[in-house]
Amino acid sequence: MPPTLTFRLLTGCRVSSERSIGFLEGHSELTAGVAFDGFGGANARAFRSRMDQWLDGAHGPNSYFHNFKHDPEHRNCFVFKYNEHRLYGFLYHPRDDDPRFQLCSLCIYATKHEHNSDRSELDRVEQWRKSLGAQEAISKTYPKTKNEKGGSPWKN
């Protein structure tokens, strides 16, 4: 039986109408939330600063966070970085009523010392992104608003 995944939104950072960040949890591989909660002092401040920067709509710097849009296999993946710490996740547009709204769903924590990102982490993130369990978990926070025919349930 597949694990029941859960999703929780990041609290205490910038509240934006354009972007949001959360953690996908409920499997031993989904370590980003636990790692983030365990950060203290400089690590916690550094990651929250980077998250605020992204939530503000800033483009970089890449040393803080970046996507992988030039990597066709991982174009939806995303990472927040501080020193050797990495929080990997994927970008997603969860709101039918606002297709531009962007969610960064963080999945995996890893430490890294090499220059290039660990593709195995990205492969795992990509698998979670495609999983039905992840979509269901996120849809509890961002319920689907379209009806079965794909149209908006709101009538003029």
């Binding site: 910038r14 983030f36 550094a46 040393s63």
Partner: protein
């Protein structure tokens, strides 16, 4: 830190957090210049007469002072300002406004360097009732609110 009241921003928890956020924000501006290739870390180290390792330490938000901030921006040919502002958020629910917002607004206004230039660079906008003469009248901008979701771009342009 996760025990924060979700309605307050993490920088409301301590002055140290607030300092880190604005220092990180400041360093992000320099990191972007470095990443764009406008200045390399080695060139920055040379200009500061420091080792690259020491420059990396300077680019740590925990180590930033006003003095080191000035040295860093002067080394990349820029300047820095400390801006106090009232964003109508005394409880700090939203966190500090990104310095990049101030910078882009300033550039958008024609990068005035005196209040005279600012007064003359503000385009007359009928909707806001602005006039050159009115520029000399003290206004309480706390009463001026722009709906965050309003489209102001076309008006400003």
């Amino acid at each position: 830190m996760e025990k924060l009241n979700s309605s307050t921003h993490w920088t409301a928890e301590s002055t140290e957090n607030f300092v880190h956020r604005i220092a990180s924000d400041f360093i992000a501006q320099l990191e972007i210049k470095i990443e764009k290739g406008e200045v390399s870390r080695s060139e920055l180290a040379h200009r500061l007469d420091r080792t690259p390792g020491r420059v990396s330490q300077l680019l740590n938000p925990g180590n930033i002072t006003i003095g080191s901030a000035v040295r860093l921006v002067r080394a990349v040919g820029m300047k820095v300002a400390l801006v106090a502002y009232d964003d109508n958020d005394p409880e700090n629910h939203n966190g500090p406004v990104n310095s990049g917002i101030f910078y882009r607004c300033w550039k958008h206004m024609g990068a005035p360097i005196t209040f005279f230039e600012l007064n003359h660079s503000v385009a007359p906008v009928g909707q806001f009732g602005y006039s050159d003469a009115a520029a000399n009248i003290e206004m309480d901008f706390r009463d001026v609110r722009i709906d965050r979701n309003a489209i102001t771009w076309a008006v400003i342009n």
